[in-house]
């Protein structure tokens, strides 16, 4: 036994409150056996994790944040994601890395006098963004509201029958791409941020799935992948982007990106193109000759939940 200068020799002997152990080695063996049994049972209990780990590669596990990827790393990541889409969905897809166009700030407006609640935008979003077919997911929800109020409490998202109904108007809601986005503030790992063209994006490979952003968003704009999205191979939209419509991994949050894989390439969002009424207007607010600029300057527009100070880049107006 070691003897120290402080004089405390064997602590075991000094501590008389501790019980005297008989049959030490036998008891130790029994305890060891039970500990081993417990550990074995634990390994068996969590064995489903092995199945889960098969679906995720070391490269995915070690991937750094989107903003920290070097161009070479990014290329590798995109190639890996394309290969995964082939393997898991049997679809040949191209995943691009669309960056904001300098001098662009995207803004959306909807004419509520024109919108008739037909829901084509909801459907177009569903297809364009490779949403899970099972849950019929979409980034857009349309509220059927009684005329004479803007109180959402009186609206419903589960309307049916022939539209438009005479005493109703229709309010489509999707991500408002706020200038003060509460969802970005609350994210503990900076997996979501606002880009220079105003679009709030998510790095699906960095999100930890805590869903704090879902709690923080006042517009129900965010969706969580409660299960692996199911999309038949022939229905997969192959024209994809890393930060937008690539098929999302399980357990992460996603949201409307103003179809950045289209809009950053000079096209219009899918929901706008699908709208048969022409209620939707989209464009670059920094372009003085744009339609959207004319509307914001000449129509009496309003924003949803202005009192929350989120400063949406999404406007509504009546004719």
């Amino acid at each position: 036994m070691t003897t120290t200068e402080s004089g405390s020799s064997d602590p075991d002997q000094r501590n008389r409150s501790l019980p005297v152990i008989e049959n030490f080695s036998r008891r130790a063996a029994v305890k060891g056996a039970f500990a081993t049994l417990g550990a074995g049972a634990f390994v068996a209990a969590v064995s489903p994790l092995r199945q889960a780990s098969k679906n995720s590669s070391a490269a995915e596990f070690l991937q750094t944040h989107y903003t920290e990827l070097s161009p070479e790393q990014k290329e590798g990541v995109l190639a890996r994601l394309e290969a995964e889409a082939k393997e898991e969905y049997d679809a040949d897809v191209t995943i691009a890395d669309d960056r904001p166009i300098p001098g662009t700030k995207f803004v959306y407006a909807i004419n509520l006098s024109v919108c008739n609640g037909n829901g084509k935008c909801v459907e177009a979003c569903h297809k364009e963004n490779n949403h899970d077919r099972d849950t019929n997911q979409s980034y857009i929800r349309v509220l059927e509201m009684p005329k004479g109020t803007l109180d959402m409490e009186q609206g419903t998202t589960s309307y049916s029958g022939v539209v438009p109904k005479g005493d109703k108007f229709y309010l489509p809601v999707q991500c408002q791409q706020c200038d003060e986005p509460p969802c970005v503030d609350v994210c503990p790992v900076k997996a979501t941020w606002k880009e220079e063209d105003g679009i709030v994006v998510v790095d699906y490979n960095w999100c930890i799935g805590c869903r704090y952003c879902e709690a923080a968003c006042p517009y129900h704009a965010r969706r969580f992948n409660w299960k692996k999205p199911e999309v038949p191979a022939d229905e997969v939209n192959p024209d994809q982007s890393y930060l937008s419509n690539r098929i999302r991994p399980t357990g992460v949050v996603e949201k409307c990106t103003y179809c950045l894989h289209r809009t950053r390439r000079g096209r219009l969002p899918a929901c706008l193109e699908a709208c048969p009424t022409g209620a939707r207007v989209f464009g670059n607010i920094l372009d003085p000759s744009s339609n959207i600029r004319w509307i914001l300057e000449n129509k009496r527009v309003y924003i949803l939940k202005e009192e929350l100070g989120t400063k949406p880049a999404f406007f509504y107006y009546f004719d």
Binding site: T4, S8, P11, P19, F42, A52, P188, C210, W226
Partner: protein
């Protein structure tokens, strides 16, 4: 010469600390048949929970009943409650160290050990709630991307882990000194105890700030949330400790617990009323004002548009809390022969606080949703399994910790 002493002492720590750990583990796994039965039962329940969680990770969180509308459920409800339980232990520390209550001082380690077990459970509930637990490392400062100080969740990571380390240090140091047979040096633990008192308040304040800072959730968006959390924590924490102390006295024959039990009973007598007052104040503001701001409270207490899933929960909580409050107000509850009634009152207060903070606070924050849809939530079987599993694990930690500390409790040192 002094440097040589230090070196020798360090070497002795290197050899005696593992011995201390080993001895503690040995001691913690010694016990009666009932003890082994209790631990086996907890292990079995924990394994069921671990298996359910593994299935959740493998199959996606579709196995829970959470939705995009109600995106937090039983896990975050329990997390919130456990933070309160961890903070509640401070109601032993304050009398012991700030008011020099000697009797409380002798057994204060029970509260600190409870804090350790509760924080471990908190961290487990957070991990259970993550869609991607494999990416947990993204939360670590430096190697991950830590959104500090903007995200309140990063503050919570700091205060919870800090509180865990503080209590591990305080308990570990005192038990180790006891093992060495040395007098604990106050310089090595008193400052940490003082910090832990402030820290205990901070963990529950920050946890309330997680919710009350969200402008889009009117039900949570109230300045009263943090004080309410603290008040109910100072009910549930002492209530748990009272029951634990009665059991420790009975099962392990530890003396000197009656006076601390009386002190904690008197504390609950005040905190349970403060909590009820705050709930009443909140409800008055909601219902007298009216408007759409009140729809979550309406849903919680009376149901909304025919949806009433939370109504039985909340009235159960109100019933338990009011009954417990009346019992605690009654001086007769302190009499020794009414111990069973005291335990019943503690259990009622504990369950009441659990419902109030979970099913009665986290869930109605999501109903109606921000687009005023009413999607109801009742936990799934998988969620219950994981939750009960984590509780079993927490009780295992607490049992082992208390067993390790029993020699200290049986022979209160003269400090």
């Amino acid at each position: 010469m002094s440097s040589i002493t230090a070196a020798t002492e360090n070497r002795s720590h290197v050899s005696s600390y593992p011995k201390f750990i080993g001895r503690s583990l040995w001691l913690a796994t010694e016990g009666s048949f009932a003890f082994y039965a209790w631990m086996t039962m907890l292990t079995a329940v924990f394994l069921v929970g671990a298996n359910a969680w593994a299935n959740q990770v493998a199959g996606g969180m579709i196995g829970t009943n959470m939705t995009d509308q109600v995106s937090w459920g039983l896990y975050i409800a329990n997390f919130t409650f456990m933070v309160g339980l961890a903070a509640g232990g401070v109601m032993m520390v304050i009398p012991a160290y700030l008011y020099h209550d000697r009797k409380m001082h002798d057994v204060v380690i029970i509260g600190e050990l409870l804090a350790i077990a509760a924080i471990v459970m908190c961290l487990m509930f957070v991990v259970a709630d993550l869609g991607r637990p494999d990416r947990f490392w993204h939360l670590f400062p430096i190697i991950g991307k830590f959104n500090f100080p903007i995200s309140m969740l990063t503050w919570d990571v700091i205060v919870l882990n800090g509180y865990l380390l503080l209590n591990l240090h305080i308990c570990g140091y005192l038990l180790y000194m006891r093992f060495l047979g040395r007098e604990p040096n106050p310089a090595w633990y008193i400052p940490f105890v003082m910090v832990s008192i402030v820290w205990a308040i901070s963990i529950h304040t920050v946890t309330a700030f997680l919710y009350c800072g969200l402008g889009g959730r009117p039900f949570w968006n109230t300045a009263l949330l943090a004080p309410r959390f603290l008040a109910s924590a100072f009910v549930s924490g002492p209530a748990f400790i009272i029951v634990a102390m009665v059991l420790i006295k009975k099962l392990a024959g530890v003396g000197g617990l009656d006076q601390p039990i009386a002190t904690l009973t008197k504390i609950i007598r005040v905190t349970i009323l403060v909590n009820l007052l705050m709930v009443a104040s909140e409800l008055f503001t909601e219902f007298y004002t009216g408007g759409s701001h009140v729809s979550a409270a309406k849903y919680l207490f009376f149901g909304l548009h025919g949806k009433t899933a939370l109504v039985p929960w909340t009235w159960t909580a109100i019933g338990l809390n009011v009954t417990a409050a009346l019992l605690f107000l009654w001086p007769g509850l302190l009499q020794f022969r009414r111990r069973p009634l005291l335990i019943a009152a503690c259990c009622m207060a504990f369950v009441g606080a659990w419902i109030e903070k979970g099913m009665g606070l986290i869930i109605p924050g999501f109903v109606p949703s921000t687009l005023h849809e009413i999607v109801e939530y009742i936990p799934s079987q998988l969620e219950w399994k994981v939750t009960v599993g984590i509780w079993a694990f927490g009780l295992m930690i607490f049992t082992i910790a208390i067993k390790t500390a029993l020699p200290t409790l049986k022979q209160p040192a003269d400090r």
